[in-house]
Each structure stands twice: as C-alpha cells, then as structure tokens.
C-alpha cells in the first residue's frame, strides 16, 4: 500500500490521521559568533505526527529545537506556525501559543514538589488575578481544583502517583525525565518538543518512555517533535525523520527512506548498519 504523503491529510499504516502542516521552518540559519549551528535548514512538522530530528553530537539538533521554542533567534529564515509567519516572540509568548518542551539537561524546579512542577505546566490555563489568588476564593480556588484534576490525569497516565508530593530534587534521573514530560504534557500542548527524552535511561525505562510517547500521540493526538540518539527507538517511533550533520540537513523522509539514504549512511549511521 502506498500513501500520498503530500496530501493535505493522510492515514498512516497504524490508522492515525496525519493532518496539515502546523510548523513550517523555512531556510533557518543560526550563528553563534563564528560558529554556524544551523545552515539554511527547512522542514515542516505536520499535525498529529511524530517527527524525529537525528544527527551526531554537535549537529545542531538542540539549537533547532531552541529556535522552534523561541529561545534562539535565527539570523535568517522564517518560522510559520499554523500557516502564518511568526513574529519575533519571547519564549513565554511561544508557550502561550501551545508549544511545550522538555530539555536535554533536565530543567525542573528542584525546590518544588512533583505536583507543583506539573501544575506550573498549566499556568497558561489559570487566569485568576493576584487579588483573587491572595484570598484564595472564587476563581482562584476553582481554578486550582480544576487544574489539579487535569494534572492528576497526567500523573495517572505517566504512572507517577507515588511521588506526587516528593520534592523533585530527591528523585532519581529516570523519574525526573518523566516528571519533566508530565509538566510539558500538563500544558496540553498542540506541539510537544522533546530533547533526548530517553538519554541516559536503561532499556526498561526506554520502553516505558516509548510507550508514553506513542500513547500520548495516539490518545491525545499530540504532535511531537523529538530528538533521539537511539536509532532503534527513532525508527520505531517516528513517522518522518530529519537528519542533521554539521548544521546542515542531509536527509528528510520516512524512517525507511532515511535508512537507505547514502548521505545519511555515510555521515551518521555507518556503513555497517544493516
């Protein structure tokens, strides 16, 4: 069976619907002084898909994610979100548009409990003003309870009920990664960016994480862009893969296409990969 991936929307082999382009990056170039981290890269992310970005160390993957989340300002190129060009924005304004992310080096709030960390993910949903919050009545109290319920769903989904009230600083690495994912998921993002969600995990933890990513995409229809080094995981999870090397895009397509691309094999996968 062949699917027309250029159509406005299509159905994958496992029955998920991939919609139109949500995020379109056009000719992005990012420089740090003399270092060119991203060189004229264009690619898009479609509604409902799992999009992977792979490449060797220092290829510019994290920088790409930072451009998408508004943390780095590219010197050249444009970002289109849902069809319209995104103006210069602060990262918190990008978050308000429905983007959420995790970090390569976990960026949780160590002094706060797991629950409070996850609740911060919902800050764009909570509108009570400071005076309502000061007396903890009406809108403030109602919002706290409603959003707590939403967070509890995420907590159940990611199976972290037992550590709800634990300060994050005390958690082991694998659980921290999961809490960070929970915080991003709590925002109910329309686009979720994951920077190496499985780095440093053992096989079992990786399997759990893969399952969560697939379920998230399947159950909530979350569009996901992820960076990952584990080839097996990437090939299993993703619908389409962008390959970067030295800041350039050297491949883009389905896992099979990428696997058979000679440039990619030379640069990254190594000839010995079967």
């Amino acid at each position: 069976m062949t699917t027309d991936m250029n159509a406005d929307s299509y159905v994958t082999e496992d029955g998920r619907t991939i919609g139109p382009v949500v995020m379109d990056l056009k000719n992005i170039t990012l420089r740090f002084g003399g270092v060119v981290a991203i060189k004229d890269i264009s690619f898009d992310i479609r509604e409902g898909e799992i999009r992977a970005i792979i490449g060797p160390n220092g290829a510019g993957k994290s920088s790409m994610l930072n451009v998408i989340s508004g943390f780095y300002k590219p010197q050249e190129g444009e970002v289109y979100f849902r069809g319209s060009k995104r103006p210069q924005m602060k990262p918190y304004q990008v978050a308000q548009q429905g983007l959420a992310r995790t970090f390569q080096n976990i960026a949780l709030f160590d002094g706060m409990t797991v629950l409070d960390n996850i609740m911060t993910g919902r800050l764009n949903k909570m509108k009570a003003n400071i005076f309502q919050q000061a007396i903890w009545k009406g809108k403030a109290e109602r919002e706290e309870i409603e959003n707590r319920e939403a967070c509890e769903k995420v907590i159940d989904f990611l199976e972290i009920q037992h550590i709800r009230k634990t300060p994050v600083g005390r958690l082991p690495y694998g659980l921290k990664k999961r809490v960070e994912l929970a915080r991003a998921l709590a925002a109910e993002p329309s686009l979720l960016l994951l920077d190496e969600p499985m780095a440093g995990m053992n096989v079992e933890e990786k399997e759990d994480m893969s399952r969560f990513i697939l379920d998230m995409n399947d159950e909530f229809g979350t569009t996901i862009a992820l960076i990952e080094h584990d080839m097996g995981v990437v090939m299993d999870l993703s619908d389409r893969v962008v390959v970067m090397d030295y800041g350039k895009k050297i491949g883009d397509g389905t896992p099979d296409e990428v696997r058979n691309n000679q440039d990619v094999i030379d640069a990254y996968l190594g000839v010995s990969h079967d």
Binding site: S69, G70, F71, K90, P91, Y92, V94, A95, Q96, A100, R101, F103, A107, L108, F109, D110, G111, M112, D116, M119, T120, G121, L123, N124, M126, A128, I130, Q133, A134, I135, W136, A140, E141, E143, E144, I145, R148, E149, E152, R183, A187
Partner: protein
C-alpha cells in the same frame, strides 16, 4: 493519637490543598490562634509588648515580605530597611494629611506606596542577578535613607528631623501615640500579622508562588514554560515591598512612636531581616515567624540570663549576641539553608514514622 496522615483521608483536592493537612498540626494552629487572640491580650504588660511581642509581630511581617522576594522568588535584597522607611514616612505623611481617615487604611496605603517604590527599585532585577542585584538594592537602601534625611518635606520640617506618630484610634481604642495601652498595641500588630500571613500563604501555594519559585529554581525553564519573567519578578517586588512597607508603617506608628530614617531604618535593619529569614528558613512562611522570634528573643534572653542572672556587663553580653548570631548564620548557610523551618519539618517527618521507623 499519633502524628500522621494515616486514617485522615482526603476525599477532595480542596482538602488535600489545605494548609495543615495533618489533624494534629491543625489543632496546634487553632490552639496558637486561641492563645494569641483570647489569652495573651489579657496578660500582656508594657515590658512584654515593647521588648517581645510588638517587635516579633512586626518583624514577622517584614520577614514574610523579604521571604517572598528572596526565599520564594530568589531575588536577593539588602534594601529592606529602606523600604520599611518608605512605609514609615508614607504612613506619617498620610496620618498628618488626612487625620480623619482610619489608621488601618493609612497603613495599607503606606504598603501600597512602598510596593510602587519597590517595583521601581526592582526594575534592575530584569537585567542583573545575584550579587549584583544585592548591590543594587543596597544602593536603594542608602538612597532612600538619604532622601528621607535630606528632604525636609518628608518629616514636615520638624526641627529634630524626626517624625512623630500622632494619636489615632481604631474602634475607639487608641493604637498610636504615647497613650496607647499595651494590649491595643499587641492586638493591632497581631491582626495585621495574621491577615498578611494568610495572604502570603495563599499567594505562595497558588500559581503566583509557583511562578516565583520557577524563576528562583530555573529562570530559563520557567520562561520557556510560559512564565513572563518581567511580571513574575516585579510582582514579587511589589508584594514583598507591600509587606515590608506595612511592617515599616507599624514599626514607626505603633511600636516606636517616633523615628529618624538613618537610625531606625538603616542598613542594620536590612541585615537583621535577612538574618531572620536565613535562620528561620528561606521559602517558608513558618520560617519567617521562627526567624523573627529567634532574632527578637535571643537578645532578650541573653540580656536576662547574662546581665540579669550572671551579672555580666551589658556590652559583653551584646558582643556575645553578635558572635552567636554570626556563628548561627554560618552554620545555617552551610548545613541547613532551609533553616529552623527545615529542622522542624525533619522532626515532623521522623515523628510521622514513629514509633515504627521501618
């Protein structure tokens, strides 16, 4: 009855959100409130109010304020004394200009004015952090005191350069000026403390507090999640300065009765409040009280025991106080940055498992 949650099931998120989730804590809180409101007022005399209760309650408000800024939002400030001065001079000008308006409103307005000043001096925090911000707030401290000394309008051109609190009353009870009775002084401070502590608790356990703590723990991540760092920092400065301003207003109007900026609100005040939150516990409401109590009681205790009991000279006792406080600051900073509040928490955690720790 054992000290634990077991058997005390929470059936709603509302219950789970309460300030004292453990029944015994809740009872302890009610007992403290009962004693504070219904027992102490009948027994306090001038000595106890002036040397213990009034300073403790007023410093607790200031410590709550600084803790919101430093402990919760992670922005260091050495300008607390200067902001207390703003509250004091604001309440003085208001009391004199509008004698018919209630002193309670004046104190709140003084807090509001201090909040505005605090936001102005908080603007550099958007650009600078840590040590450099501390220096900037230190500049605010000296600048504010200098202004209050230099501009006679602030002290209504009085010959002494001092400000004196006129007599004002609440519900017919005199609360400021030399004729104030001990219990009235105590009560007005107590009411302000209880209400403001409740507000601080509400703000810090809700979204505002999470934004502050997010900025404190990792400002870049907080911004990427959607916290507007400008708003988060400036609200922290505003709320904190409001508290500090109210403390300054009460300190002058209710406690001192007369004040002079450099003497009453100098840099020493800034450090005193900072020591309170370090010893009591950064990022803790309870810690603000514990620290204020500690710093107020320690000199009283040392004076009574060493000077009164053992007959030491006063200056020796005073020096010993410096040494004890200095040593404790070092110990707390190194060993227990979360202060007395954390020690209390650890004790309670142990107690929760007692008598079967495994």
């Amino acid at each position: 009855m054992f000290y634990r949650e077991a058997g005390d099931f929470k059936t709603s998120y509302k219950d789970d959100n309460q300030t004292f989730p453990i029944r015994l804590d809740r009872m302890g809180y009610y007992i403290v409130m009962f004693v504070a409101f219904c027992v102490v007022p009948f027994f306090v005399n001038d000595y106890w109010v002036n040397s213990v209760f009034a300073p403790f309650l007023i410093y607790a408000i200031a410590a709550l304020g600084l803790n919101i800024l430093t402990g919760y939002a992670g922005q260091v400030s050495l300008g607390t004394g200067g902001f207390m001065a703003v509250g004091a001079y604001a309440v003085y000008k208001l009391m004199v200009a509008f004698p018919d308006v209630s002193i309670v409103i004046h104190v709140l307005l003084a807090g509001g004015i201090t909040a505005v000043v605090g936001v102005l001096f908080g603007l550099p925090s958007l650009r600078i952090k840590g040590f450099y911000l501390a220096v900037a707030t230190l500049a605010a401290q000296f600048f504010l005191v200098w202004v209050f000394n230099k501009v006679p309008w602030f002290y209504n051109y009085s010959a002494s350069g001092q400000i004196n609190a006129p007599e004002r009353s609440v519900f017919g009870v005199i609360v400021t000026g030399p004729n104030t009775e001990a219990w009235a002084k105590y009560m007005i401070c107590l009411v302000f403390v209880v209400v403001l502590a409740w507000v601080a608790r509400n703000l810090t356990r809700g979204m505002m507090g999470r934004k502050w703590m997010g900025i404190r723990d990792m400002d870049i991540a907080a911004e990427i999640i959607g916290v507007n760092p400008l708003m988060a920092k400036l609200t922290a400065f505003a709320v904190s300065s409001f508290f500090v301003g109210v403390a300054g207003a009460l300190f002058f109007a209710v406690y001192l009765g007369a004040a002079e900026a450099g003497e009453s609100f100098g840099i020493a005040k800034s450090f005193l409040i900072l020591f309170m939150i370090i010893i009591g516990g950064l990022g803790s409401i309870f810690g603000s009280f514990a620290g204020a109590a500690f710093m107020v009681l320690l000199p009283v205790l040392l004076k009574n025991v060493l000077v009164g009991g053992l007959g030491w000279p006063t200056d020796l006792a005073a020096h010993l106080e410096f040494m004890v406080v200095g040593g404790l600051i070092v110990i707390f900073l190194i060993l227990e940055p979360h202060g007395l509040a954390q020690l209390w928490r650890l004790t309670k955690e142990k107690l929760r498992l007692w008598p079967f720790p495994h």
